[in-house]
Structures are given as structure tokens and as C-alpha cells.
Symmetry: C3
Subunit: 422 residues, 3 copies
Amino acid sequence: MRSERINALIEQYRPGYGLPAGFYTSPDVWAADLGVLSPLWYLVGHTSQIPEPGDTKIVSLFGESVIVVRGSDGVVRAFYNVCSHRAARICDESAKGLRQFTCPYHNWSYSLEGQIKSRRLEVVFDETFDPDAHNLRPCHLRVLEGLLFLSISDTPTDFDEAYQPFEELFRFYGMANAKVARIHGFPVVANWKTLVENTIDPYHVPVVHPNFTKTRTPAYWQAAASTRTAEVIAAATQAEQEMKEWEAALTQLPDVTGVVVQDGRHDEQFRWLVRGPLTPGYQSETIGGKRVAPLMGRFTESDEASVFSNFNPLDSLFMSADHATIFNIRPLAHDRIYWETMWLVDKDAEEGRDYDTEEVCEFYTEVNAEDFPIWERTYQGATSRAYRPGRLAPQESFIGDFQQWYVRRLREQVDAPEPVSV
Amino acid sequence: MRSERINALIEQYRPGYGLPAGFYTSPDVWAADLGVLSPLWYLVGHTSQIPEPGDTKIVSLFGESVIVVRGSDGVVRAFYNVCSHRAARICDESAKGLRQFTCPYHNWSYSLEGQIKSRRLEVVFDETFDPDAHNLRPCHLRVLEGLLFLSISDTPTDFDEAYQPFEELFRFYGMANAKVARIHGFPVVANWKTLVENTIDPYHVPVVHPNFTKTRTPAYWQAAASTRTAEVIAAATQAEQEMKEWEAALTQLPDVTGVVVQDGRHDEQFRWLVRGPLTPGYQSETIGGKRVAPLMGRFTESDEASVFSNFNPLDSLFMSADHATIFNIRPLAHDRIYWETMWLVDKDAEEGRDYDTEEVCEFYTEVNAEDFPIWERTYQGATSRAYRPGRLAPQESFIGDFQQWYVRRLREQVDAPEPVSV
Amino acid sequence: MRSERINALIEQYRPGYGLPAGFYTSPDVWAADLGVLSPLWYLVGHTSQIPEPGDTKIVSLFGESVIVVRGSDGVVRAFYNVCSHRAARICDESAKGLRQFTCPYHNWSYSLEGQIKSRRLEVVFDETFDPDAHNLRPCHLRVLEGLLFLSISDTPTDFDEAYQPFEELFRFYGMANAKVARIHGFPVVANWKTLVENTIDPYHVPVVHPNFTKTRTPAYWQAAASTRTAEVIAAATQAEQEMKEWEAALTQLPDVTGVVVQDGRHDEQFRWLVRGPLTPGYQSETIGGKRVAPLMGRFTESDEASVFSNFNPLDSLFMSADHATIFNIRPLAHDRIYWETMWLVDKDAEEGRDYDTEEVCEFYTEVNAEDFPIWERTYQGATSRAYRPGRLAPQESFIGDFQQWYVRRLREQVDAPEPVSV
Ligand code: FES
Ligand code: FES
Ligand code: FES
């Protein structure tokens, strides 16, 4: 019955127009969405948050609490934060230098590698007790140039295939040698798709984000319109010329420039990796283009460019020569989101001397504040009986790609739901 | 399945007794109630709130946000507050003197008459883009002597047939020349029927509302009991005599006195229009009967009377010679209501000089405060397993009429639900 | 369909392991749980709270509001707090010395024995009005040595059969001559079974409750492990010896010592009554064993012992020679609980002179604060996809008994749900 309703919505969808309202507003669709989203990998933090053995970071993802921990061997692993005895949540909060995990309920303890160490001395189970069945349940975790990726699926998508193409550029930008300057989050009343569609929408930028708009040339914004009027063609030519000039001036990087990855409607992930020039004179993606922190990675001077990458519909990363910004959409229900932003700078930069955290965070703090009311009011529109899937503008072709990707994945999910091992 | 449960409740209903509990407490019934309520017209404001072209009032009704706007031509219209592009809510709040509507997401703009004016200059849709399909979606709106009536139905009931009978009296009371003295609202945990039944219940007034009780004669309250004991008959005779004396003293109005409209269980709306004398010496429906504002409409002296009108189960209007009060029950869920009160005085009256807002609002502010705990505790009773539909008293015949009206409309709704055009 | 899902959960349950997650997290199971719980009797207060005719205590149980009242004849009765007219909740709060109940909506009134006295003088119903059908609806209430027990079922379990065995010991401990020293409650985000399993779990005590642990000897805690290692056998022998010595020293009570009642998986209630020695030198179940109030009942000196009784899964009572403590688990939803604690001392004890309330409440206030995070984090674990029903330790056999009792009762409930008379 639930899948009948979802199939009816899928039938109503017309590519080139917005999604039917139920895709945003229905709790049933949200339940199926979990199946669409869960096989993917999510960017949940940075290794600099857990530098030493026994350091932990507690991650919350799709309602699950997960312990990310650096083991005695220095390897980073992840475990569900659930005791194998009577299921008490083991860790309250991120911690430093733990020697083991001890459950506060009956003191069962586990090694940093998740193996059960004791079920309290005075309790003797008989020989039918299988210790191996009582280790902490592991969660898939991978590290890519310092970035921590987690999947709560038992059969996640192929990590290497998905993210190997990102590696070289991330290394160049020094992601593995970064540290966290600030984390900030807030709740949003909207569907996750409302936020995704906003994140990949260049069409709203000149209207909503004046300072972001200034980071790219006027030609850049005009060229984004795919309809070929004389004016747009002129702009596209101009933008192409700007890109060429920027590439010519770029001596540091041998090959990784421009678009390297752009997943479309037929791919498994919904990935992107785009590199392109900022407005001439802009050293960094900041208000006015000023540098806000020491250069990172292999930079000896700014490339006056910016990288935008998407690892899946919910997580994105913007890199400049001097800092990087991570955005996480964390859906809590069909109409509730937690939106989190994390800023990274070089690990050797010193707050106060080399950078001012307020200055590093100023740009995207403003962008977030500008988008927040847009997210909520767009979701409100989807709840109205007057809602009609609107015609997408030429500049919104990425949104159309996302919607086709989503509808295809949802149909697969409804036809063959991922087994939930509970 | 849902309609089976509702039909079972309908079967349980016995006229003369209260409604079975599920009519108040079931979310399923509430979903069907929306179909019962939506074809009707709702009193959502007064033209004085939008005196000039470009003035808007944002109305919230049954979860919909609607823009009521005075056009360049001076005509008042209503539009759903949803952009035709990607559905962003266009207006946050009521405003003055707009020249057009501009959506904050991508700056598509619309004329005050709802026609699309631009989809941003740099975007060119091809010839398949139909501008007429992208106008703002209109909402039915009518004005009756300054009172704004809205329906979110595509096929609302016949407005003229319903409210033409109210017109002459509203003109006499100067409704078109009124202005808003205050608006005040608060949330209530109850079902909307709990509040309707309280609003039309004279039986509770002498118990709960001492100052309201004093505005009518003792005979009035006693006569309301339809059981004919000697005492009640004497009171009724007395009340009739009082009415005659009041009518005799009334020279201003040729014919519109006493009851002119009283919808019963067989009518489409649930309307009332009753005019009757106040306690001798009472100039207005206030504490102690004092006048609290300049006379309105064609009054040259007070008629020492009051008009009570109901336009539907949720909206009512009380008029005295010097001020008027509007009540709106706004259901948000089966168990949540927003209750709003609006006070009107003559548009030429000046605050401070001609009237004191506190004094104008004092009477019904007190009545609201007295009713509020009654609403919540009556709803609480409906959630108990000890709840039994109680026997209605003779003075509660209006409630019986409402319940029969409601059950009939609900049955029609379950049999043939209004098509919801989403 | 609902019962299919519950039956599937019942099939998954394996004795000796924890319950499958759905028993804690599913709203459907909670709806069925109400049928399991409602035939039982609940401890809702003490007669000392309503000493005089007309004194009332308003009790909230499973969403119902109930008036417990001492009648003019001194007898304590209970009525649903719902007016027979239009269902208004009659009493807001507990009161003293009422002469009758008067509904605030239309002033219908009822005697303290629940009989309708008037439906307002001026209202005359005709001869078809049956006053007896409009009395307050009674609720089953019983008093056991001052303790008030309520059932909202029309056909509750046999009270005398269930609780007669408790009577003699409660009389000895002076329960009928107690008074309330303090009541304290707070909300918990958890399932009621999470709290029950914690309440009857000796295994967590040495880990979570250091001061509670000290009230019993080390041998006591070790002996609780049923696996027969040499160490445990030695401890059990030691604990048995301690019990014998305590019994030998006990001259006051002829026979009621040790375990007198222990309901298992096959009984109707889930009752317990256990009496046993405290750590030598402990006069009372307090921090350090100090006496905190005058001796109660027939005690002339402390028995250095404690009684633990459970009347059903939700209500328990701990008695020392000088004070007693009542715990009530009050489920509000599948994931919300109100936890209330009530402390009793002898009715003739005078605050300030004979006891200090802070001192009386100190011990279990601390125990509650220690358990609260355990309850919430255990419930959180049940919501995880990593949850697996864990192997129960030998010391958790009571939990296994409770789970088997519960699953059996639930199966009966699903097969033949108790008729709900609405
Ligand atoms: S629940 Fe973790 S040790 Fe018992
Ligand atoms: S949503 Fe209104 S202009 Fe795009
Ligand atoms: S509801 Fe109690 S008297 Fe009317």
C-alpha cells in the first residue's frame, strides 16, 4: 500500500518540472528515502578530531549513534554505540585517550578495536556464551586525505571507485593536514530534497547571495543559462576565455583543473568535483576575496580558484587555497533537518596569530543565513494545495539531474528495498 | 477503511445526545472534517487593513497561506502565497504599497493582479514556456460591507445566496466604515467542534460569564429553556414583552429586527443573524453597558441592542452601536486550535481621544479568558474512556442543530469527498 | 495487520535473551501493552492524603483523570473526572473538604458519592431523563493498609487474591499509620519495559549505585549469580548464613520473613514481596544505614532489614523500620514515562523535630539520579539498527521472568483483546 502511493507519485513526475509535492511532504516517502540514502558514504568529520589512540568522535547519522575511534594501532574505526549486553548507549560524547570502552550499565568492556574484554568478573556465563558474538558491531568507515567517511549500510557502494578521482586534488589542497577551525549547526524545518536542490542551484545565487555572486565574474553567472541567446552566447565565450586565461596562469597543478567529476542521473552516487577560477584578484572564496588563513597543501601562492565537491546529495566541500568548508545535510524526519558547517584550516596555523576564526567563517555563515529562510519557505510551498511542480529554468539543469537520479533510485528502492538487518 | 470507521461513528450518533468521542479525538475524522469545512466562506479580515493599492494581508487558513491584496484598480483579490516556479512562499508578512510581488528565491515577479511579469531577465525559456500557466493561483474572495470572506475551495458555496440577507443590517451598523482596534489570538488544545458547541451555547453563560449575563435580562436567560414549566412560560412572556418594548422604542430601523436568519440542520452553511435588546440601560455589549467608542453607521443614539451573527461554524461577529467583535476558530489539527479575536470601531474614531482600546476590548477579553479553560477541559473529557455522549438540555437545542448539520455534511463528505486538486 | 506485526515480534523472542527491539519502540505494541496493563491494580497514593470527608486526590493513570475522594461516610471511592453532561473535566486539582462536586461548565453537581444532585434549577428535563444514568462513572478502588489501589478496567484482576498475602507484613510495618513526607516526579524518554527491567535488575546495582550496594553484604551481591562457581557457592553459603543469623536475631515477627511472594512467568500479576537483612549495623535503607525517622508500626527497634514489594510491573514499595518509599512508572506513550517517587514516614512524626525530609529522601533521590541516564541510554540502544537481543546474565533471571510473563500476557491480549467500553 505504501509502495503503491509512492509509485503513483513516481508516475506523476515529469522531467524538467519540479517533483510532485508528496516527495517532500510524505512520511511514507521519507521511510523509502532512508533506503535510497543509506547505501551511500557520508562525510562525518576529519582525522584531526581524533589525533591520538583512544580519541573518539561520536557521530549521529540517520538516527544512529556511531563511535569513531582511533585504535591502539593508530587505525581509525567505527562502531555502533550500542552495548552487546542490554543495548545501553556506551559513550555520551567525544573523548580523548580512552583505554577501552566501558558500558555504564553493567560495566561490560570492549577494546578500542571493539572486542569484548570482560562481562564483569563475578559473572560466569556457561560454555554456550560466545564472546565473538558480543563484540561491538562495526560500521563501515574509510578515510580519504583526512576526511572521515561512514556508511551505516551492510553493503555500501564501492568507496574507491567513487572517491579515488577526488584524491589527487584533495592531496594538493592539503586536506590530510587540515584541522577544524569551527563547527556550527542549526535545525531547519524542510525536506532534505529542498536543501539539496538549493545547494546545487546556481540560478538563485545572484538573487540571494550578493557576496557569493561577487566571487565569480558576471560572465560566469550568465553563461550558466543553457538557452543560447546572443547575450548568453557572448557570456559563455567570455567565461570560456576567462577559464583559459586562469588555466594558462596556473603553473602549480599539472592536470587537475576544471570539471573532473560530474555524476548525472545514471550514476550510483551523486558526486561532483568542479574547479574553476574566482573573480580576478580574489585570493580565496571570501567576502571581497581576501585571504583569511595561511596557504594549505602545496600552494605557494593562491590559484585564485575554488573547488566545489559533492560526495553524495547531502555532503559537500568547498576548498580555497587557504581554507575549506564542509556542509552536511542531516535529515531527521520528512520535514526536519540539522544543517552543519565545518571550517578547516592548515593544521599548523595558529588562531590569533595566523588567522581569526570569525574571519574564516564569515563568508559561509552569511551564505547560510541567506539560505535558511529560502529553505523553509520553499518547503512551506510544497505543503500547499496550490503547489504545482514548476517548470525548471535552463540554469536549473543540475536540479533536473538530481531529481532524475533520485526518482530512479527511489523506484529501485521501492521495487527491491535494501534488506534492513534488524 | 478510514471511511468505515467514520461511518461507524455516524451510526453511533443519537440526535439529542452529544457526539461520540471519536468525532472530537480522531485524526481520521479531522481529515474528513477538512472536506466538510473547506467549501464554506471564512471571515478573514476587514478592508480597512488594506486601504491602498498594493496593501496586503497574509491570511493563514487550514494550513494554507493566502495573500489578500488590493490591486492597482482598487479591487481586492486573493492568491495562494506560492511561487509558480519552485514554490517558495512569496510574502512573509502583511505589507503596505507594494508595486508587485517578487519571489525572494529567484526574483520571478508578479503583478498585484497575479500575472507573471518576469522570470528574471537573463533566463530565456523556449516557446514551450506558457506564461499564463505561471500566474499566481487565485483564491476565491468576496467583500461584504468591508468584511473579507475567503474560500480555499475550487467550488465554494453560493456567496450571495448565503450572505445577501446580512447586508442591510451590516450597512446600518456601518461595517464598511470600520477600522481594526485590536487583534488578539492564542492557541487552544481542543477540537474545533468543542469550541463551536461552546460558542452557540446559552446554557453555560450564566455559570461562566457573569458580566455577559448582565447584558441580558433575567427573563432572557430563563426563556431560553424550551421546556414549558410555569416559571419558564412566565419568563418567556416577559422576554417577549421586553422585545416588543425594545422594538417599539426603535425608530431607526424599519424592519431588520430580531431573528432574521437561522440556519438549521438542513442548510448548506451554518449561519445565524439574531438581533435583540440588551438589559435596559445598556448602551453597548460591555461591562456595565457603558459606551466605549463613538457610534457607528447610521446610529444617532444607541439602540440598546446587540447583533450576533455566524457565517459558518467557525466565524462569528457581535455588533453593538459603537463597536463590533469578530471571533475566528482556526483549526490546526484534530486537537489544536488558534482562536483569534478582532475588535472594530468607526474608522473616524481616534484612539486616545474618542476611545480607549483597553476599554473596547475589555469585555470579550474577559469572556475569552473565562471560556478558555472550559474548552480545554471539555476536550479532555472527550479523550476519556468514561466519556458518554450526554443528554442535551433544552437550552442546548442550537448545539443539537449544529451536530445534526455536521453529521449530515460529514456523511455527504465520506460518500462523495470533494476532489482535492493536488 | 497490527496484530500480525506483534505476532511476528512474539515469534522472534527467545527466552534468556532480551526482547526484540519492536517491543520497546513500536507505537503498535504500546497500544497492545495498554490491554496488558489495564486489568491490573495500581498504587496511586495513601489514605493520609485524603484524611477527611470531601478531601480529594486527582490521579492521572494511562491518560485517564480520576477523582479519589473520601465520602461523607468516610469511605474512599474513585470516579472518572468527567461530567455526565457534556464531559467537562470536573476537578482541576486535589482539594480539601468539598461538600459536593460542581462542574464548572453548566454547574451540574454531584454528591461526594457520585450521585447527580442537580442539573441546574432552571433546566427541566422531561420524564425521559434518567438521573441514574447521569451519575459520575465509578472506577475500581481498594485500600490495603492505607495504600490506595486503582484499576481503570471494568473487570480488574482479583484484588484480595493478589494482595492479601502482603497485608500482615504491611500492618507490621505500620503502613496504615503513615503520612507522605514528599512526592517527586520527572519525565523520562524510554519505554516502560526499559524501566521495569532496570527496577528488578540486581546485576547493575554494584556498578551504578555505590550507596545502595553498601546496604547489602558483598556475599549478597555475589550470591545473586546463579552460576555455580566455587566462588559463587562460597558467597551463597555465606549469604545464607547471614540470613539465618538475621532471622535468629529477629524476635519481633513470628513468621513473615524472607521471601513470601514471588510471582513468576505464569502468574496473573507480576508481584513480589521479599524481606531480607541489610548490611550488619544498617538500621535503615539509607546512606550509611543511619535511621532517618521515628520507628513505624510495631517496631521497637530496627530489624536491620528491608522489604521490597512489587504490586505489578509498574509499582513498587521499599519498607525500612523507619520509612518507606513508593515508585510509580507511569507510561504516557511508547517512548515517554513519568517516574514518581513518594516517601512515607509515621503519621505522628513531626518534620523538623523528628525527621528532616531531605535526609529521608536523600537515598532514593540519589538512586533515581543514577538510574535516569541508564534508562534513557538503554532505550536509545533499542532504537538502533545495531540492536540485538543480548544474552541475559545469570543475575538477570528476574528480567527473564518478567519478559516471559509479558510476552505471554501480550499474546493473550492480541488473541483476545480486553473489550474497551467506549
Ligand atoms: S547493557 Fe552494557 S553492560 Fe549491560
Ligand atoms: S521559487 Fe520563486 S522565483 Fe524561483
Ligand atoms: S459539562 Fe458539566 S455541567 Fe455541562
